[in-house]
Symmetry: C2
Subunit: 331 residues, 2 copies
Amino acid sequence: MAEILLGALDIGGSKLAATIANDQGPIARVVQATVKSGKPDALGQQCLALLAAAGNAANIDIKEVASVGVSSCGPFAHQDGAIGLVAPNLCGGLTQENDLPNDWTFIPLEFTLRKQFSKVVIENDCIAALTAERYFGAAQAEPNSVYVTWSTGVGFGLCVDGHILRGKHGNAGHAGHILLSEFSDALCGCGNRGDLEALVSGRNLAKHYARAAEDIFTSATAGDAASLNIVKDLAKWFGRGLYNLVTTLDTRCILVGGSVWRHHAELLSPFVEAEIHSRFPALTKGVTLRSAELDDLVADIGALALVMPESWVADWRNRQPWIKLQTIALD
Amino acid sequence: MAEILLGALDIGGSKLAATIANDQGPIARVVQATVKSGKPDALGQQCLALLAAAGNAANIDIKEVASVGVSSCGPFAHQDGAIGLVAPNLCGGLTQENDLPNDWTFIPLEFTLRKQFSKVVIENDCIAALTAERYFGAAQAEPNSVYVTWSTGVGFGLCVDGHILRGKHGNAGHAGHILLSEFSDALCGCGNRGDLEALVSGRNLAKHYARAAEDIFTSATAGDAASLNIVKDLAKWFGRGLYNLVTTLDTRCILVGGSVWRHHAELLSPFVEAEIHSRFPALTKGVTLRSAELDDLVADIGALALVMPESWVADWRNRQPWIKLQTIALD
């Protein structure tokens, strides 16, 4: 039997990563700035080129790879039955304040990848991350779990009764855009005022307070009262967003990842927990908040998990073969 | 083979209904005011007595009934692996403003019913309602659908990717308690201020505006500008709650039931739809709002659907045998 080879793509607003793996683990990973100009299929073409480059680095002909898992920023839409991206941070034609060098309104991702690969599974980045945490990280054996990234933006992967939620276009988990504040003028990239992402995301809070997010957290940790009040306010909104999810989904375990959380979990955690547990004990009792475990490579491992044979899972869980993975940066 | 006989219970804050059915349809239904005093198992005992009474009315010995489906107000909790009720409108020991003649903190429902029946399936009333609408009503063949009741309270049943969501204790869908307003003093029975139910439920809006809900809607329909402004405000909050669900679950179809909606859907519908569709087109485009179809008996049919052999479904869908069902009221 020929060796099974897998490809993985991690598509973000600023960078694109391609990984090649076999049953022993990821072999090579190549990363490049995400293409944002040219025809709408330029991103799909870049994915194909980057997978070929990762194949080269792994000494593998990319034609031997049949299956590709994709972790991508969303949201998604369907055209002729195939998934494409309608992501405001990639498609210039969809944003209100257009600072992108294109007027794309739809990126035909699945259509382009299917020309070369027979199996393509595309999921929202937080769904891929939750898949990785369920296979290999902090959400193993917990059927009612939520993954949330608190970073430049805020996104969720949702698992209820052991099913990871996808929804009509695979966009379940866009709960960064739930409305929480009726009067806040904090503005989200989607146009909402007062949604969760507007109130707490790294990008938006820096705009809102006209200070670097990092500066606010560092000052708060150093004891500055005004900065600490901002942090408490952020934690309150984030906690309210999580409370809203718990009351909607009867979740037990919340995993938090993303750069804001990774660097400031110790400061934020008590305030966020207090906000969640201050309400409706029948739903919030027993809810736990944990840090995600696979943070740096969570998207890549999640993308691989989407197409991985089940027989590989226990061995990878045991050996964590991604730890030795080297990344090659391309211009 | 012996005839298959099913029991169904509809447990509400004010009334309890028991139904007996065979493959031809529901045979008898008995209803009585919900017991709220005595020992914590008084409600379970009333369920057993009412099922026996429905059996009598159907000329059936209740011992021949093996399976009972239950649609109940929640929330639920587990004790020794069995579901019980921790519902603030039944358990006096759980409410802040205690007007109930008991100090219950847990009603051992499943434990009591299992003494007599070998199969007991208990679901939140909105989950049962959604099951009924998916089998026989307005949500057939739509895997991404939400049922919401807008009545004395506000509750949800959620279906994503064809799975009806239950959660760690079967409490998924308590999204009536998501926080929407940061400054409103509208108070919910759960203690929250500014959650969806506080802002729009029949009980709470009557308190908040010190006018009967019905009066507000009748005056608005008759052209009174102040009343119409209240209705627009209610529709805005209800629409925001639905938008939050759509953005969380990527729902396609929203079914609305409950007394407030049933009587005023024509007035409310345009405002609610406008609120949903005013945001995030990638998620809200194509979302439809429909009235539920099985409203009066939705809980009873839902409870039966929870334990019904699949082979009955197509025939019941076709004949709608519940239409002829007579109800007997007991003192």
